[in-house]
């Protein structure tokens, strides 16, 4: 049985589809074993974990197989965390206090 997987420009797996989607950019058809051999996951289980909580792909397509990316690879793709409104407010207040302290120290 074959399935379709979508690969981005650097080989990260960004999509899985049970039908043949070849012809759509990035999609190629592979035997189901190419997904399960190195991940140990069935197609549906793998499809549900394609990306982590930050939206970073967990798997890469290498040498004809889908395999888990390393923690370092994932960390390199992980964006800076988004501050919550409370954290942003705290940072803004702290910055304002620092500026105020500088002004006082500088005699402005």
């Amino acid at each position: 049985m074959t399935v379709s997987i979508c690969i981005d420009g650097v080989g990260r797996v960004t999509g899985v589809h049970p039908a043949d989607l070849t012809g759509n950019t990035g999609w190629l058809s592979v035997p189901e074993e190419a997904l399960t051999e190195r991940t140990g996951l069935g197609v549906e289980a793998l499809a549900g974990t394609l990306e982590d909580e930050n939206g970073v792909p967990r798997y890469a397509y290498r040498d004809g197989y889908v395999e888990a990316r390393t923690a370092e690879e994932i960390a390199a793709d992980t964006p800076e965390p988004v501050p919550t409104p409370a954290e942003q407010w705290r940072a803004d207040v702290e910055n304002a206090l620092v500026e105020l302290a500088d002004m006082i120290a500088g005699g402005e």
């Binding site: 960004t14 049970p18 989607l21 759509n24 197609v43 499809a47 988004v82």
Partner: protein, 387 residues
Amino acid sequence: MTSRTLGNVAIVYRGEYDAGSTYLNGHVAAFEGDTYLCVSRTAIMGVPPVVNGAVEGTHWVLSGDNRAARAAALSADTAAANADAARAALEAIPVNTAGGYLLLDDDAKAAEIHLPDRLTGAANYTLGGRDLKAVFGTAAALHAAVAAGDYSKIRIGDYWPISLTGTYRDYAAGEDKTLTNAVLKMEVAGIDYYWKHGDVPLTSHHLLLCPRDCLPNASAMRAVSGEWYNTEVSTPWQGSHLYQTLNAADGILPLIEATDIGAYLFAGPNGNGMRTYMPIMMPGTSTATGYGYRDRGRLFLPTECEVWGLPVQQTDVNHFMLPGQWPIFAGTLRHVAKNRGDGGYITSWWMSTFINGTTATRVGSLVSPTAIADTSAVSVAPCFLIT
């Protein structure tokens, strides 16, 4: 003979017979020294138990130890027949399914009783929906019904399938991408949802369509975090690369316009789709400075409010956008959960709400509201109006 288990059936003593009262099967009334059991299949009023000195017989029988009368009152078949009659009477009440209102008389003026969608069939969103092509046959026929405001055959969750083939420019990726028979089942997400909304009010009857699943290709919101494709506009959505990917002359728009339903896309007063309320936020900034009506794009994405019914990641009031949840997303996550490619597996997909200058919102692949860097490759569910 059909038998049904009814549980306990009560005999109700109603006191002295009153010609102005309503009596039902099982009611007992006193009349001229005797008691009478009502055995009528329908409610009666003004029918006395005794007529011209004799028991009326059709609706009333003498009570007391009259076993035949008691048997008649308790008859399962009688009660079941009554239930069937009541059900038939209810089903005979005409229902204006478009508005979900009971029509209480021929003047159709008594529309105060609003039935839940699940009773009128006005929503199919908890089910798979119907293929409107099978209902209307042609896009022209669907359009004619919409233009006339005749929604008697259209329910939330029904869909019009389109198939996209061709090349489009992904402005964030800076490359051309190809779609081959990419199916989008464009579900009815709202009916006249934006009626009279906007600084140029939308007064055409319209369907709001949102695909059940996403395009097979993911796209980033922006090429470089915080970088706007179009700096001449004043909202981050309009200025994004993804807006361009959807709406440019070499974007996805012409592929959708080439479908049978494409001729009926709402162009809007400026040719760039409907007008809607958005936060005004300039390039290089992270805080909205105000709000205003802007062109949304003929192809657009739902905002966070329109998916979830309230702002979740977008908690800063400065980023206020039009509140209100699309009906298809109300009461169920079934249509919030989308796949990459029709019938594929679960994916995360963009909403058009920005949190700050570099972070946008999406529905995560765990079907929850999440924030993500604007350069992330996320699935896309292009929505549009037809009028």
